[in-house]
């Protein structure tokens, strides 16, 4: 089920996520000081390459990490295997990546449309 490659991928993505989550929460606390508004958040993130990379790398890490974790659960608990398991894992990855990428695009580069 989990070989060294998938195990390492899951650990490395966890290493990436940990500081990003801390950064995300720290900025939330900092931002709330002046009242949390959509306008204020978008003013900070829109057009920012730094925030695109920050949340973009988080989305990639979450997609890989979550897909591997759910792959193990679906195998051990629900007996999914072989091709069905491969398809399920990639589908979870695609779903998490798709939703995440859409959100990152929306807060960094999508103009207007609030």
């Amino acid at each position: 089920m989990l070989d060294l490659r998938l195990y390492m991928l899951q650990r490395l993505t966890a290493l990436i996520m940990a500081p990003l989550v801390i950064g995300h929460i720290a900025v939330m606390i900092y931002a709330v000081q002046d009242g949390l508004t959509v306008g204020e958040i978008l003013a900070r993130t829109q057009g920012s390459v730094a925030w695109f990379l920050f949340y973009g790398s988080f989305v990639v890490a979450v997609s890989v990490h979550g897909a591997i974790g759910l792959r193990v659960i679906s195998f051990e608990w629900f007996g999914l295997k072989g091709r069905a398991l491969q398809l399920f894992s990639w589908a979870i990855f695609a779903l998490l990546f798709g939703l995440g990428a859409k959100a990152v695009y929306a807060v960094t580069f999508a103009g207007g449309g609030l």
Binding site: M1, L2, D3, L4
Partner: protein
């Protein structure tokens, strides 16, 4: 515990009778059957099983050899937990005056209480839990001091009697039939710490493969039930660490 004390008080009288449920299976047909046996103050689960076979039903199949906790043959599920039955006193495990004996979990049943141990030992080979000699009898003996860190790590992992109690206790084995299990990986770890062994690369590849150490969820069922108080989870953590290190060594 309370009912265990109550039970041992009752059995002061030798003629006291207790009921034991034993799993009987032949072919596809399996069920628990109840037997009445003398409730002696001082008897092991294996004594009870042997009594049933010798005095009530000679067709009962079970496995044992040494009766002193060395050979690892007599492990069974006792009231739902894996135990070495020759060293498990009935008074310690009886619950509500009930004793239920079943074949080891996670292994195919041959008949009654006897399981097929082949899958268990095949995984030892798959996990490269076998010695790869690096010297001949003409070479001098390897000098290993007792305080060598590798010797200490190996010492903590030896004394396994191959009873498969950990294998039966492991929930990962239950849900993932490919998983090598605690005993095989524990043995692989003790050999990884043996400087005389020449097979470390194949061993690391084996324990890093599909059924290998990375499947362990560190639930520690093996640690809980190992009759020799070994810590296979710690050994498996060591294998995870060493396979990771080897990955970085290779990529350099």
């Amino acid at each position: 515990m309370v009912s265990g004390l109550k039970w041992s008080n009752q059995v002061a009288n030798e003629t006291q009778i207790m009921t034991v449920s034993i799993w009987r299976e032949s072919g596809d047909d399996g069920r628990f059957e109840e037997y009445e046996v003398p409730a002696r103050e001082n008897q092991t689960v294996l004594d009870v099983v042997a009594y049933v076979q010798q005095h009530i039903d000679p067709t009962l199949s079970y496995r044992f050899a040494c009766r002193v906790g060395m050979c690892g043959s007599c492990a069974m599920m006792v009231n739902g937990s894996p135990r070495w039955t020759c060293r498990t006193h009935v008074s310690k495990v009886v619950a509500d005056d009930q004793l239920e004996v079943a074949p080891l979990r996670n292994l195919p049943v041959i008949k009654d209480l006897a399981t097929d141990m082949d899958p268990f030992f095949e995984k030892w080979v798959a996990a490269e839990a076998v010695f790869h000699p690096s010297k001949t009898r003409h070479d001098p003996m390897a000098a290993i001091t007792p305080d060598d860190p590798m010797r200490i790590a190996a010492s903590e992992a030896i004394e396994c009697i191959n009873c498969a109690v950990c294998y039966a206790a492991c929930d990962v084995v239950e849900s993932n039939p490919d998983y090598f299990g605690p005993a095989a990986l524990n043995r692989s770890w003790s050999l990884l710490n043996d400087i005389r062994d020449a097979g470390q690369d194949v061993r690391l590849a084996a324990v890093g493969s599909n059924g290998g150490c990375h499947n362990c969820h560190s639930q520690q069922g093996c640690v809980q039930y190992c009759p020799n108080e070994l810590n296979p989870t710690l050994s498996i953590a060591g294998l995870k660490r060493e396979t990771t290190k080897a990955l970085f060594r290779r990529s350099r």
